[in-house]
Amino acid sequence: MHALANPNRFLKLADAIQPWAVGICILCFAIGLPYGLVFSPADYQQGDTVRIMYIHVPSAWMGLFCYGVMATGSAAYLIWRHPVANMAARASAPVGAMFTALCLLTGMLWGQPMWGTPWVWDARLTSMLVLFFLYLGYMVLGDAFEHREQGDKAAAILALVGSVNLPIIKFSVDWWNTLHQPSIFSMEGVSVDTAMLAPLFLMVGAFQSYYVVVVLMRIRAQVLQAKVRSARLLQAAE
């Protein structure tokens, strides 16, 4: 891992990985989308609305996964000053926020036919909503400083504080939910038919490989940004 701390060396690795990631992404979407939309069975209880699950569940997973990358990268950055780890964290934030938003919106689209109301303070959706705000805070804080390094450090600390808080928030929201809601509204009860597992995994694979493609792109952009900044400084000094 420390061998990858050098951004240029990391970018060489990224160059090698990128085409594979793109290929896997396209493949997964090409098979997963028609499978999910058309060829997989409708649910016994929920009918065709279950097809929303093929977007909703992978987004939820990616929302959490990206935050995990953010927290791990932030820790590596704070402890070892690993520059690429920080870049990976910053790069993952908008992607994670997008997936979390997608999870919330598809949750609403799923909720309307399922429960008759678009928003329900279901424990999972509520935790996802809080997660979205944690992403927002991280992104805004990171960009709120004059020197980028200040923003990097502050955002990294926030990411770690948030990750300590996340299980506490989940625990609190779970308890709060049992207090206020009959369990009918829980999404926990969705049982997944084996015929539905394949498109589900394909979509997760598609989203994951998409993540790799985009994050590598964004890391590359951050490296370029640093080069541009130093080139500008050099120019100003002349």
Binding site: A144, G162, N165, I168
Partner: protein, 221 residues
């Protein structure tokens, strides 16, 4: 240890000279709580039902109001740098500032809450639980908020950024704080809920000064 208390005394003396800050927070708390009956109507059932929630949310916002000043005032005149370069560990200094913050903003809220509870038509049986829940919860609010204050110390648009960062972190305290009061009012045993609040306080007490100190160091580089 002596220096810890000396720091607190110093901060208290400073805030006493600027009494306005403390009064402002208490005033905001009172005015905002009183808005709710105008907003939702004075029917006894409604107010009573939301009373604990209103008190808590307003307490959160009031704590947020004063958080900006925990470090900013000292940072502005250079006193913070001086303090941090002293041999006293950073986390102890931060802890002292958090204690002073709580004494000047949390404690007035605890004292005011029962009176305001009356305006929300909360039953008299709720006074004890309200004060105890706030007593356990407001220090946690100061602790968690201090991290936000430290992180945003040299950030642009600190005023809007601070709530965005801190409020999601406040949600567990809010949930259990309200839960403890509601459970007591409805006659259920709420000792476990107080235990959870106390747990939050202990964990934050252990971790937050250290995290806030790290944030202060990060901001200075």
């Amino acid at each position: 240890m002596k220096q810890f208390w000396a720091l607190i005394r110093r901060d208290l003396r400073l805030s006493f000279r600027q009494r306005a800050d403390s009064l402002m927070v208490a005033g905001f708390f009172a005015v905002t709580v009183i808005l709710f009956p105008f907003g939702v109507g004075p029917e006894p059932g409604v107010l009573e039902r939301i009373g604990a929630g209103v008190l808590w949310v307003t307490a959160l916002l009031a704590a947020l109001l004063s958080l900006e000043h925990v470090f900013a005032d000292d940072a502005q005149d250079g006193a913070l740098d001086l303090l941090l370069s002293s041999p006293l560990p950073d986390s102890v200094i931060v802890a002292a500032k958090i204690v002073s913050h709580w004494l000047t903003t949390g404690v007035p809220l605890i004292i005011l809450a029962p009176i305001l509870g009356v305006t929300l038509q909360m039953p008299s049986s709720s006074i004890g639980p309200v004060m105890l829940a706030l007593a356990l919860g407001t220090p946690t609010l100061s602790l968690i908020g201090a991290i936000g204050a430290a992180l945003t110390l040299s950030a642009r648009r600190r005023g809007v950024l601070l709530p965005l960062i801190v409020l999601p972190l406040y949600i567990p305290v809010l949930i259990f704080g309200v839960g403890a009061i509601d459970a007591a009012v409805m006659g259920f045993d709420n000792s476990r809920l107080y235990a959870v609040l106390a747990g939050f306080l202990l964990i934050s007490g252990a971790l937050c000064p250290w995290a806030a100190a790290a944030a202060l160091r990060a901001a200075r580089l």
